[in-house]
């Protein structure tokens, strides 16, 4: 049976060592770079004509913009639009990375927790920095609910702090686990097809897992979009706490 984990292997394309740190250019880095280049190329191309009545490419770019802008405005209000570039970049980057992973022989960057954790940590640190910069110590109100009797306040505060600290974990694990599990499932069903084909008369059953694999592929395309969306929505929600820590 083909190893379902093999698809996540990292290997060095250009080995590089800087001051004792291994900063080699890996296949993961290559796909990240590809995602960024594709995104930039697409948006440069799509916004070239700037027609009042958009063509096909321009329509897609405008839909993407309005989709994220609506999300940002809905959860953070008008002042949240300052974070639009941040949220938009995150959403598009994750979306393109997930989609590149759906292409056969592609590599799914977001199926490595180190990548998703870095993205989640970026959001977490941004929330902390923006929260303290904008509200000063008022930001700490986030941990002290207003209508709580004084004798349970210490415990509630502790619980709120733990809840706050758990955010980057659930934020990153959700994206990573979804992509990892989906791709492993896909590979396992693909493996079943090959195994059944090689098992004599059982080969007549081979179309069954093949059908499953096709169905799961469709599901995975949906998941790839949905997880990018969920990541962006949660980012908006957390950033909203930094802007309005009162509630």
């Amino acid at each position: 049976m083909p190893d379902p984990i093999h698809q996540f292997d990292l290997y060095r394309i250009f080995p590089l060592n800087l001051g004792g740190w291994d900063v080699s250019f890996t296949n993961s880095a290559a796909f990240m770079l590809l995602a960024v280049l594709l995104t930039v190329a697409f948006f440069v191309l799509a916004t070239q004509s700037r027609a009042l009545v958009p063509g096909r490419l321009q329509s897609v770019a405008e839909i993407a913009h309005d989709f994220v802008a609506g999300m940002v405005r809905e959860s953070m209000g008008k002042e949240g639009m300052k974070f639009f570039p941040f949220v938009f970049s995150l959403f598009i980057f994750i979306f393109v990375c997930n989609m590149l992973g759906m292409i056969p022989l592609g590599f799914t960057v977001t199926s490595h927790i180190v990548v998703t954790a870095a993205l989640a940590a970026l959001v977490f640190v941004t929330v902390l920095v923006v929260g303290f910069a904008r509200n000063g110590l008022h930001f700490l109100k986030l941990f002290v609910p207003s209508d709580v009797p004084i004798y349970v306040l210490p415990m509630i505060t502790l619980i709120e702090v733990i809840s706050f600290l758990s955010r980057p974990i659930s934020h990153s694990v959700r994206l990573f686990a979804n992509m990892l599990a989906g791709h492993i499932t896909l590979k396992v069903f693909g493996g079943f097809v090959v195994m059944l084909l090689g098992a004599g008369s059982f080969a007549v059953l081979a179309p069954l897992p093949l059908l499953m694999a096709v169905a799961i592929t469709a599901l995975e395309v949906l998941v790839a979009f949905l997880q990018a969306y969920v990541f962006a929505v949660l980012t908006c929600m957390y950033l909203n706490d930094a802007l309005h820590p009162g509630h």
Binding site: I162, S163, R174
Partner: protein, 120 residues
């Protein structure tokens, strides 16, 4: 327009209206099936998110307790305490998420956690 022409015209109109009604109801049925599948997909997504939310908080609580124990040498008491606090924080996360979902659904004119009204 002669009376006969008028009668034909009217029967033609009612026929067209009937066809239009049929086409509309078919289209609506298709749409509601799509919405149902979408809701189920969403429900699955929400379930996964809730699980992650709960587990993450328990892990954070456990790790904090474990490290405090390690620093203060009070094993295993702080671990147990913070494990429970982590669980409480997880439930808090779930409650918050539920409220948010409720608002989202309400904005779209639906409700969760409530079955369809039945006859009896």
């Amino acid at each position: 327009m002669s009376p006969r022409e008028r009668a034909r015209f009217e029967s033609r109109i009612s026929e067209l209206g009937e066809q239009l009604g049929k086409a509309r109801s078919r289209r609506e049925a298709e749409l509601s099936v799509g919405a149902d599948a979408e809701m189920r997909g969403r429900g699955m997504g929400y379930g996964m998110r809730m699980a992650a939310e709960l587990v993450a908080a328990v892990i954070v609580g456990g790790v904090i307790g474990w490290s405090l124990d390690w620093v203060l040498g009070s094993r295993p008491w702080l671990f147990l305490l913070f494990f429970l606090l982590g669980f409480a924080a997880g439930v808090r996360n779930l409650m918050r998420m539920y409220e948010r979902m409720q608002r989202e659904f309400a904005a779209r004119g639906g409700r969760i956690g409530q079955s369809a009204p039945d006859d009896d």
